[in-house]
């Protein structure tokens, strides 16, 4: 399978932009704070509050994409598609419902074609990009899947380049949903720790520019499927995760021994971590260096695909693999996430995303030696 190159990236997390996020990682700082829903829950919020409306969310996207497109000339932009991965509520629908369904909120009729993809459409118009836009919602795998779809579109010659955006902004509905499922931790996400008690959600936005121009970074391949045991979880044995990771290797024409390190999904939830660690053990048999990034920035759901890959890239560009925070007693002693930052300047990295709705995705990225 032909690879595509990662030409640029930008992120904004609870820790700040890419440089600020990685400098916090180096100092083992977490961006955790809290939010109020029915109760106060731990949460990784942006430093500057983003309102739950289309204008504020678009301003966030505009800022990130403006940085990505500045290196593209007019011709390049015309052949650049925009794909967004998000599990964000569509506020356009909420506004339409409010204006029509509740007597006291009714507004005079007005109609404009809007959807969750309207953000991408506006970005395309504002920055002179191709009119092809797409928004993918496959929960935690949304922007990881958007990366794979963009890769296919470029390899098929449909577009020269694609900007893939991951987006997640605080939503009381999403947070209440996770809370009602008893999936939110009381204090901290502790991926792969015996004492883990749940995940902690977070806000993030990120964009990755893909294309065929020269770059040290590439997406070698990946695999996505929908084979979970139930709509909310993979089986504890991790069989479904093994399948998706193995297929990602096959798709990239690689073997387990080619993998330098693994970025785990590592949410800190009881069942997901157990399934993933069992899968890691089954696939890698002896050992593998791996880490989880969610203790730094939270589980950013639809944004996690793009944002965690960009974070990993920035870490490797700065010469290290980040340790996993808050894991003191690992589930499996022989398969513990990194306890200290480790020197690493290049290699092949597997990135896992296992989510709700049965969707599981594994991507393989590579940084060649300079």
């Amino acid at each position: 399978m032909a690879s595509v190159n990662i030409l640029d990236f930008e992120i904004l997390t609870s820790l700040g932009d890419a440089k600020q996020t990685i400098s916090s990682l180096l100092e083992s700082k977490s961006g955790i704070s809290s939010k109020e829903i029915e109760v106060r829950i731990p949460y990784y919020a942006f430093k500057d509050k983003v309102e739950q409306n289309q204008e504020s969310i678009y301003a966030l996207l505009q800022n990130i994409v403006a940085k990505i497109v500045r290196k593209l000339d007019k011709e390049d932009r015309k052949s650049t598609a925009v794909l967004i991965g998000t599990s964000q509520i569509d506020w356009n629908l909420v506004d339409a419902i409010n204006a029509s369904a509740y007597e006291y909120k009714k507004k005079p009729y007005g109609s404009q074609k809007l959807s969750i993809d309207s953000y991408a459409k506006s970005l395309s118009r504002e920055f002179g990009l191709n009119e092809f836009t797409m928004s993918i919602n496959t929960a935690c795998t949304s922007s990881a899947n958007a990366l794979l779809e963009a890769k296919n579109l470029i390899n098929a010659g449909v577009f020269q380049k694609a900007i893939v955006v991951g987006l997640e902004v605080f939503s009381p509905i999403m947070s209440s949903g996770f809370y009602s499922m008893d999936l939110i931790s009381k204090d901290l996400p502790k991926p792969f720790d015996l004492q883990r008690d749940g995940l902690v959600l977070g806000e993030a936005v990120g964009a990755i520019l893909l294309g065929k121009d020269e770059s040290l970074w590439s997406i070698e391949g990946g695999f996505s499927n929908c084979n979970s045991q139930t709509i909310t979880a993979v089986s504890s044995s991790g069989e479904e995760c093994v399948e998706v990771m193995q297929n990602a290797l096959t798709n990239s024409a690689l073997h387990v021994e080619d993998i330098t390190a693994l970025k785990a999904h590592g949410t800190g939830s009881l069942s997901n971590d157990l399934a993933e660690i069992n899968a890691i053990k089954k696939l890698f048999c002896k050992s593998i260096k791996f880490t989880a990034l969610k203790p730094y920035i939270g589980h950013t759901i639809g944004a996690s695909g793009v944002v965690e890959i960009a974070m990993l890239q920035e870490c490797i560009d700065q010469g290290f693999l980040p340790k996993t925070l808050f894991c003191e007693k690992p589930i499996l002693i022989d398969f513990a996430p990194l306890k200290e930052h480790e020197k690493c300047e290049s290699g092949v990295f597997m990135c896992n995303y296992f989510g709700f709705g049965g969707n599981n995705t594994s991507l393989i990225i590579k940084k060649s030696d300079a």
Partner: protein
Amino acid sequence: MTLYIKNYSSYIDDGLDIKKELKQRYKIDTRRQDRFIHLAVYGAALLKQKCEISANDELYLTSGVGNIDIVQKTNTYMFEESEALKLFDFINLLGNTTSYYVAKTLGITGKNIFQISDNFTYINTLLSIYSSLRESKKDAIICTIDLISNPEQSIKRVLGVDEETKVVSSVNYQKLSLKKEGAIASIEFDIQSYSLDKLKEKIDMQKAFFSPRCSIKKDTDFFETIASYEVNRAIKERRDMVFVDCFEDRYKIIKSKNEKLY
């Protein structure tokens, strides 16, 4: 770009009690699901009767605006009635929940994508499928679905249509392949969009079918993924078709060819 259609299913709202039909005729468990999921699953059940589906077929679902019913339900609970969010309403709120139930109905365990494009969502999804199949060498199933909410005005506000426009719910499936063998039809499409003047140079305007979104002819009830329905209707009526979809004065062409005629 060309994709071959191996089979299809179509349903346009005719008042059928879909939940009852799923339970009684197809013996499908409808619990914990909502009307949008029921409609998608019903279309899948119709397709499954007509053709063989492989577990590795890639599944793509697309829609004009998605499941507006569930957004209304959760919005009402949380912000109008100050009630706690119900577990399965939260799960159904995620776009790929519908895809999950469709995948289970069809026996698919492979790729499963729920995506929406603001403009040309059917054609853009065909572009994604075409690109994906070139890499994977598999076949794909496309589900296009639009469900009208109550009150209808909510969905009309985000469709960009006049208040008087008649809207209807519909679900349409096609099994797609890059291989011609066993195909009943083919569809040709492109990334290119045209101005009206260019469109007139490209096609015979008298013979083409137009989406009601185009101001040229308005003779059909509207739903965003009507192009998919018209492709299926052309196959059923054993005819070739040129279909024009429109978005803000830009036009895209889909050519559907009945392979059984040739």
